[in-house]
């Protein structure tokens, strides 16, 4: 493929049917099809509407605190002795993660569509908090679906959502984690489709969600690209981001896709290791199938049932992945790798001690892989890691592993 053909290919997905090659699409029940068509039409109009974009940019600047810094991790890079590592500090956003970039965008869509109520699914609680936050600001009713198991693991975020005026609904079906929360949010949406906007937290779900969430998260990569040029006078050699559903990764990667010399690494949750069944790495160990409205790589058994997943980080504990990642894997543009629980935990401690930055356990997966990658490169080379969230929410998990109870 020539360079220009490739560039056309990146811009051409998703197509009008919401497909990224053979992935994506709209695999939902008929009741939701009209709502998806409406959202598609509204988004097509607003995504090129200057007033809407100004409103969004204004919020990103003054409410979220963008642009987020690109920070050279000097001591950590020196310690590794390989490529220089720069951290894209999404952890410094209001609410502490990249999730808010998307919830602000979708909540503005909801407002323009006249919806009074927003719903969201959440795993670690970051997307739930980001949704509850923007709902508070816009005066929208907000209900967040969260697996019973995750409510137990993430008590702090549950309370944050309640303080923000959201109702957290405990999901007790299936495995009681993120995928089941998404099922329940879909069921609510089917029931209340007239007055409710479903704010999906990642680049998954039926079309047009993978498209619009990507577009809202691309601010990460656009900023990072400009910051690399301004601060280092060059583009990076590699990008590294963790991949659960994959929204922070696509946000960083997408604006660089045409920069052919920039290598990209999406880091999935290796859990207890790919040799076990306790992981959440569909791109590394799964097969294509349909879940939550799109065709993508999934963790599934021989009978097409979705498998239970495991990761130390609730935000990566998901059996699917955004369809664009599946496409980018198949065409070979992005390398999908894994970091396991132990590696992520070590990276969490390292960054905290060496740089004074406490990363989310999700982002720690990206850090763990970046450390290995940097060690194989030279000090003249440069890596950008998406530090997608801060680690305050994970203190209980880490403390428990260290045998400490509060």
């Amino acid at each position: 493929m020539s360079t220009s053909t490739k560039q056309d290919a990146y811009a051409a997905v998703p197509d009008a049917q919401g497909r990224f090659g053979e992935y994506g699409g709209k695999y939902v029940s008929e009741t939701l099809m009209a709502a998806l068509s409406e959202l598609e039409a509204v988004y097509a109009e607003l995504s090129v509407d200057e007033k809407f974009q100004r409103e969004l940019d204004d919020d990103l600047t003054h409410y979220v605190g963008r642009p987020s810094p690109l920070y050279e991790a000097v001591r950590w890079s020196d310690m590794i002795g390989g490529a220089r590592i720069y951290l894209k500090r999404e952890d410094l956003n209001h609410t502490g993660a990249h999730k808010v970039n998307n919830t602000i965008g979708q909540a503005l869509l909801a407002k323009h569509m006249g919806k009074k109520r927003v719903i969201a699914e959440t795993g670690a609680g970051q997307h739930g908090v980001a949704t509850a936050t923007i709902a508070a600001r816009l005066g929208l009713e907000c209900q967040v679906f969260m697996g019973e198991e995750d409510i137990r693991r993430q008590a702090l975020n549950v309370y944050r959502m309640k303080l923000l005026g959201a109702e957290v609904i405990s999901v007790t079906s299936g495995s009681r984690t993120l995928k089941d929360a998404m099922n329940e949010a879909m069921r609510d949406w089917v029931t209340n489709v007239d007055d409710t906007f479903y704010i999906i937290g990642t680049v998954a779900g039926p079309h047009p969600y993978p498209l619009l969430v990507r577009d809202f998260q691309c601010v990460i990569g656009r900023e990072a690209r400009a910051q690399c040029l301004a601060q280092a006078g060059r583009l990076p050699d590699a990008l590294v981001a963790c991949v659960g559903g994959g929204s922070n990764a696509i946000g960083l990667f997408h604006p660089f896709l045409n920069d052919e010399d920039v290598a990209m690494y999406g880091v999935e949750a290796g859990g207890h290791g790919l040799a076990t069944s306790d992981h959440a790495a569909p791109l590394n160990a799964g097969t294509p199938g349909v879940l939550h409205g799109n065709r993508t790589y999934l963790m599934q058994d021989d009978d097409g049932q979705i498998m239970h997943t495991h990761s130390i980080s609730a935000g990566l504990d998901y059996p699917g992945v955004g369809p664009e990642h599946s496409w980018l894997k198949d065409i070979g543009r992005v390398n999908y790798v894994v970091a396991d629980d132990d590696e992520a935990l070590r990276a969490f401690h390292t960054l905290t001690r060496v740089e004074g930055i406490m990363p989310a356990l999700e982002s720690s997966h990206a850090l763990a892989y970046a450390e290995k990658l940097a060690a194989s490169m030279t000090p003249q080379q440069m890596i950008v890691v998406n530090l997608s969230g801060r680690g305050d929410k994970d203190i209980h998990t880490v403390a428990q592993i260290d045998g400490i109870e509060f």
Binding site: S29, A34, A35, V190, T191, Q305
Partner: protein
């Protein structure tokens, strides 16, 4: 003519409405399902709809979700569901049977493999909740190849122009989802249903069956005034689950389901 089309034609000639019970295959035990199917036919079922258990049944309310979980827990798979249909066919070659389920298990088996296995088992139709007309191209060709009906949903939110599009791909009958919500919800509006069934008839000559939210003889009777078929699911599944939960035997659960279905049959058939 397919068994489903033949069934609707015969009922239309007799001036009767099809009664279509839905149960989840393998719930609560695999050996439970085939005897239940026969009993439902004895109690007035015209067409049987078997739910294929799936780990993430997004369109289902709590009652049917639990039935899916119970069936999965005892190892019920799509292949085993087809084996149940095959077993049922040994002694009933006339009652149409269709499967209702989700895309992934069928896709994972492979559309061609599924079509071949399904026709060999004596299955008549497939309703895949999360395969709308936009995504149907892969599977429709395979179903047509083996002359199996592909049943589509029409919802309260479906605009008229979409109804036409759905109808052009559908066969057997059209399944109208009577409410915005999940299976077993309680907000059935029979006036609205009548109006929507009328809209479907303007675009399609296929029979129209109505499901979601029909739980007893009265609601079935009201819907039967306008529909060619009435689907009853959650009420049956719940009736059986309650018997089993109280420690009842399989026979007692099947008898309870048969009794409820019999009531509904009489409700539908009683003169207006």
């Amino acid at each position: 003519m397919s068994r489903i089309a033949g069934c609707f034609q015969k009922l239309a000639e007799e001036g009767r409405t099809a009664l279509i019970p839905y149960v989840v295959a393998g719930d609560p035990r695999q050996a439970f399902t085939v005897p239940l199917m026969h009993k439902l036919v004895e109690s007035g079922a015209d067409i049987l709809e078997l739910g294929v258990p799936f780990s993430d049944p997004m369109a289902e309310g709590p009652v049917i979700q639990l039935a899916h979980e119970r069936a999965l827990a005892n190892g019920t798979t799509l292949s085993k569901v087809l084996a149940m249909v095959s077993e049922f066919r040994k002694t009933d070659s006339t009652t149409p049977v269709l499967l209702m389920g989700y895309a992934n298990p069928v896709m994972h088996m492979g559309y061609r493999n599924f079509a071949n296995a399904a026709v060999a088992a004596g299955l008549d139709g497939l309703l895949t909740v999360d395969i709308p007309p936009e995504e149907v191209d892969g599977i429709n060709g395979e179903l047509q190849r083996v002359e199996m009906d592909n049943i589509f949903l029409v919802a309260p939110t479906t605009p008229d122009e979409r109804i036409a599009r759905i109808a052009s791909r559908a066969s057997g009958f059209i399944y109208y989802v009577s409410l915005k919500g999940v299976t077993g919800a309680g907000n059935l509006d029979t006036v609205e249903v009548a109006s929507r069934v009328g809209a479907i008839r303007r675009h399609s000559s296929l029979p129209v069956a109505v499901g979601f939210g029909i739980k007893d003889a009265a609601s079935a009777r009201a819907v039967a005034q306008t529909a060619d078929g009435v689907v009853v699911g959650s009420a049956l599944v719940n009736t059986m689950a309650e018997v089993i939960e109280r420690g009842g035997e399989s026979d007692a659960a099947i008898a309870a389901a048969a009794s409820l279905l019999g009531d509904i049959r009489r409700g539908i058939d009683s003169p207006a």
